[in-house]
Amino acid sequence: MSWITVTIIVFIYLFFILFLGSWAGRGRESSVVEYIAASRNLGFFVMYFLMGGAIFSAFAYLGGPGWAYSKGAASFYILGYCALGLVPWWLWGPRALRAGKKFHYVTQAQLFTDRFQSKALSVIIAIVSILAFIQYITLQMKGSAYVFEVASGGRIPFWAGALIAYVVVVIYVFYGGVRGVAWTNVFQGAFMITIAWILGLYFAFKLYGGPTDMFRQIMEAKPTHLLVGPGTKMSFAAFSSALLVSVLGFAMWPHLFMKAYTAKSERVLKQTIVMYPTFAIFLVPVLFIGFAGIMQVTPDVLGAPDRILPWMFIHMKFPAIIVGLVLAAALAAAMSTQDTITHAAGSIFAQDLVEPLKKEKHTDKEATMWIRISVVGFGAVSYLVAIFGGQTLVSLLLGAYGSIVQLLPLAVTTFFWPRATKAGAICGLLVGVLYNFGIVLHIIPKFWGIHAGIQGLVLNFIVLIIVSLLTKPMNREHVRKFVTL
């Protein structure tokens, strides 16, 4: 009967989050800038968890241990990029914040569209972002569905598990807007970190007598597991280029980039960047969980590497309450990413795709309603994709997912190179995105194991520079606005 206790705990967690998220947005006015950017008024504490919750995704919580278990040292790359991801943001985060205040932007595409005076750019960015978001959400849904499956001992099927958690997310994003996302992330973040540390250290000590002995045993059994390079699971070039592309692309994710508009001040934004590496330290014990699994179960028995975390504690014969809490924490990881993405996707669809294509402008209240409707619409579509998505669709989404880093040249030129033109920006972006799709769809062969994103990025920059220099410069006063922020 212990599965009932476990399931009850998971549901208590869900109700609490639902209440917290909906409560967070109460009594606020119904305007676009409030719904998307919390009236540009979030303080450090909330900002820190808002950005952190996005990275503590199902990928970090289930995928991280999975990587440590199956790929070994390759998983160190997760630590590296989590720590460094926000560092490039120091260059354009504060500038984006100032631009947002001055010219009233709430999304990433609005900034680039205004700089390059191109609605086409807005549409391209919106489409790529939304496709990438669907892929991102689908990954999280698999994570949360898996939690329910384990909690109920297989009694809750995949479609229901994915649905239950996501409905909760959509409801509080609908009501709470970015404040709902932020406050639930505070709770979810703190909860996950606590559980992760306890669990990671517990496994290492209980099963092996400490991390050192654990790694020594792994080294003796599998000498190459804790190394990268030839003969291991990840080549040198793959490790380095994956880390670089993740660092460069991290803050280009629209849902993170647009959070620059939520910060109360530059100070708050910079404090968030300074404190961000702490999240990478929090991830260390999460990897321990995966490493601890190596000597316990063989890959054939386990099935998929992502199952390592649930497998580990189910076979440890914990009391039902503990199992419930751990599963709730894994669910928190998936949901704290789903909410940010869903919120951003709804905002982008309504603001960057619908608004520019409409002749007459909506009033602020109508526009907010449209974002809310888009949130629900996006939720429904990504759920259907997660349940019914076929192979072609998956590669289409993967292509978009890898294309996000291609927005980097737009940010760099917006803030630092006034000579860049509309034609240059559009051509560069298209080349980068299409190149990436070419690789995902196997039209272009892989080159040396270097990450496709880096290759696309180089081409993107080259095309942007050449085309810009060949076309007429844009209005000087207009482009200077963005470099003198």
Partner: protein
């Protein structure tokens, strides 16, 4: 990386016009430091692709990555407080 004073307003513009030279120098130094930290993390296998010695319970490669996360954190703190001091003195950046 040039700051191009003489161009027609279209050149690469890294700093806001009127940024004091001291702030510019500091900006460039920290830019280089962070580039180095990122590159060292990305190419950690050049320095620490080994399991032994174990430090703080971690294999050496993992410890090396964690060490550079700590260094990065300290560097960020330093640059943050240096900038905060400017703002307090009315310098601004």
């Amino acid at each position: 990386m040039s700051t191009n004073q003489e161009n027609d307003g279209y050149g690469i513009s890294v700093f806001k016009p009127g940024t004091p030279p001291g702030v510019k120098t500091r900006g460039i130094i920290f830019f280089i430091i962070f580039c180095l930290i990122i590159l060292i993390q990305a190419f950690y296998w050049l320095f620490a692709n080994s399991v032994k010695p174990f430090v703080l319970g971690m294999p050496f490669g993992m410890f090396f990555i964690v060490l550079f996360i700590a260094i990065e954190f300290i560097a960020l703190l330093v640059v943050y407080f240096a900038e905060a001091k400017d703002v307090a003195e009315g310098g601004g950046s």
